[in-house]
């Protein structure tokens, strides 16, 4: 019983200290707020609907960016994985483009799309494209060689080989790539909102800070943490379920 409570003491103690500090020594601070005030601000944002609107925007942008990245990265990754020569020939270009920090594209996306959903989608797509491409390529190159030989014996066309042999074989690993993509896309979506895009959770947090409302700012910070944790956990569970269903030994 006590053992199960162990993870909770540290965060609860920290919050309690913060609460006490901001109720006594630093009362009326403009930069921080007591956790209970943050909870109240959170409830207020949930009641007036701004919480859900901003959350939906961020999640929508992250999801659409991830969808674009997956639609591009998975076919390309399969192609590169199936052909070692294509993989070698593209290696230099990939290694040159991949290290560009995704945030460097925020100003470019601003220039091309203006503010809004498309701009955020494009940056998220760029950021999650690379890890998914690399993981898909690696997944395909680790497909059991005998399966590929079978496809040769059956004289399958490259298209059929991809669809009937390779794709089912890499599904568990694709979900690993997807899970990584989910983590990247959420982080990048919030980052884009903090840096530039006047929408979503990141922007709501920036605005709370700029209007000297530390309670609301901390409420957003906590909420971003909870949403990120929940979605990452969901992605992990989905990946593990798929891995079990496909009989892969992780």
């Amino acid at each position: 019983m006590w053992r199960r409570l162990r993870p909770w003491w540290f965060p609860l103690g920290l919050l309690l200290l913060l609460e006490l500090h901001l109720r006594s020594l630093a009362a009326g601070s403009d930069s921080l707020a007591p956790p209970i005030a943050a909870l109240r601000a959170f409830a207020g944002a949930a009641r007036d609907g701004s919480l859900w609107q901003a959350t939906l925007f961020t999640l929508g942008a992250a999801a659409s960016g991830l969808a674009v990245a997956a639609a591009l990265a998975i076919p390309l990754g399969i192609t590169l994985g199936l052909s070692p020569r294509a993989s070698r020939l593209s290696a230099l270009s990939i290694e040159l483009l991949r290290p560009i920090p995704s945030v460097a594209l925020i100003p470019l996306a601003m220039l091309v799309f203006g503010f809004g959903l498309r701009m955020e989608t494009s940056v998220v797509a760029f950021a999650s494209f690379w890890p998914m491409l690399i993981l898909t390529r690696a997944a395909v190159s680790q497909v059991e060689p005998r399966l590929l030989e079978v496809s040769q014996v059956l004289a399958l066309s490259p298209w059929q080989r991809g669809l009937k042999i390779v794709l089912p074989a890499i599904v568990p690993r694709l979900f690993v790539a997807l899970r990584l993509g989910v983590a990247v896309s959420l982080v990048v979506a919030v980052t884009v909102e903090i840096a530039a895009n006047p929408n979503g959770m990141g922007y709501a947090m920036m605005i709370a800070q700029q209007s000297l409302d530390p309670a609301l700012m901390l409420a957003w910070l906590g909420w971003i943490g909870v949403v990120g944790y929940a979605i990452n956990l969901a992605a992990l569970m989905l990946q593990q379920r798929v891995a079990r269903a496909m009989g892969a030994a992780e």
Partner: protein, 255 residues
């Protein structure tokens, strides 16, 4: 999967593919497929790059950003390894602290910028603090994981030898956690560059982040592209250097 050894032919082909992509860029900008407002020609980008690096401001900005990244990353690595060793060495500390740390892990580092602005104000040290804090996470969790995964027999050996806790950390824990630490440090270098750029953008600190934002607002696409190219080069060079260091440091593990 890394292409282990490129044959000369493949290396040549690889370069040719990259050149073909640049040629495509050239054609797209010259042929007017994409407006020049968004996509400058490669020559214009190169000219901006040369002009900026040769006595222009771009060189200073690149230096400032690189320093911010490296300083934050070094701080993050030191703090991450030290804290990680302290937490990782005790199973009890792990049981109490690790769930909280895992909860904070998916939080975007840049989400701490508003909090840091409200506490420290818009100063260069604020950005540095967020870079260090955000980049510390992968190293911290990597170190804890490395300590938690120490072979149980080594634990028994150290108990038999009556090693003090410090000796255990230095002689068994850290060498064992080295691969995890280095993997964390590699990730944290990427985080450090990203947070440094975002910090420069929103706190208006001199650096490439601010430079590309201003270039975009003034519709100077060639300068924007020059900044993006430089950021890509910084990312590429730092990653390559770290990869080299990793290879050297881990040689003893796989003879």
């Amino acid at each position: 999967m890394k292409p282990a050894r490129l044959s000369p032919l493949d290396a040549l082909g690889s370069v040719a593919v990259t050149l073909a992509l640049v040629a495509l860029w050239w054609a797209a900008s010259h042929g007017g497929w994409i407006s020049r407002v968004f996509l400058p020609t490669p020559e214009a980008t190169f000219a901006s790059l040369r002009e900026g690096l040769d006595g222009g401001e771009l060189a200073q900005f690149a230096q400032a950003t690189t320093w911010r990244m490296v300083e934050g990353w070094l701080l993050a690595s030191l703090l991450g390894v030290a804290l990680g060793a302290l937490i990782g060495v005790s199973a009890r500390a792990r049981a109490y602290l690790q769930p909280t740390l895992e909860f904070v892990r998916p939080l975007p580092a840049s989400a701490l910028l508003p909090l840091a602005i409200s506490i420290f104000g818009l100063s260069p040290n604020m950005v540095l603090a967020v870079v260090a804090f955000g980049a510390m996470w992968p190293v911290l969790l990597g170190t804890i994981h490395g300590f938690a995964a120490v072979e149980p027999r080594l634990l028994e050996v150290s108990r038999c030898l009556q090693l003090s806790r410090i000796d255990f950390i230095l002689k068994i824990g850290l060498p064992n956690a080295l691969p995890d630490i280095l993997a964390g440090m590699r990730l944290s270098l990427t985080v450090a560059l990203i947070v440094a750029v975002v910090g420069e953008m929103i706190a208006s600190q001199p650096g490439l982040g601010q430079a590309i934002l201003l270039a975009a607002r003034a519709f100077r696409a060639s300068e924007l592209f020059a900044g993006i190219v430089l950021l890509g080069l910084i990312g590429l060079a730092s990653n390559a250097l770290l990869g080299l260091a990793e290879h050297k440091l881990l040689k003893w593990q796989s003879p």
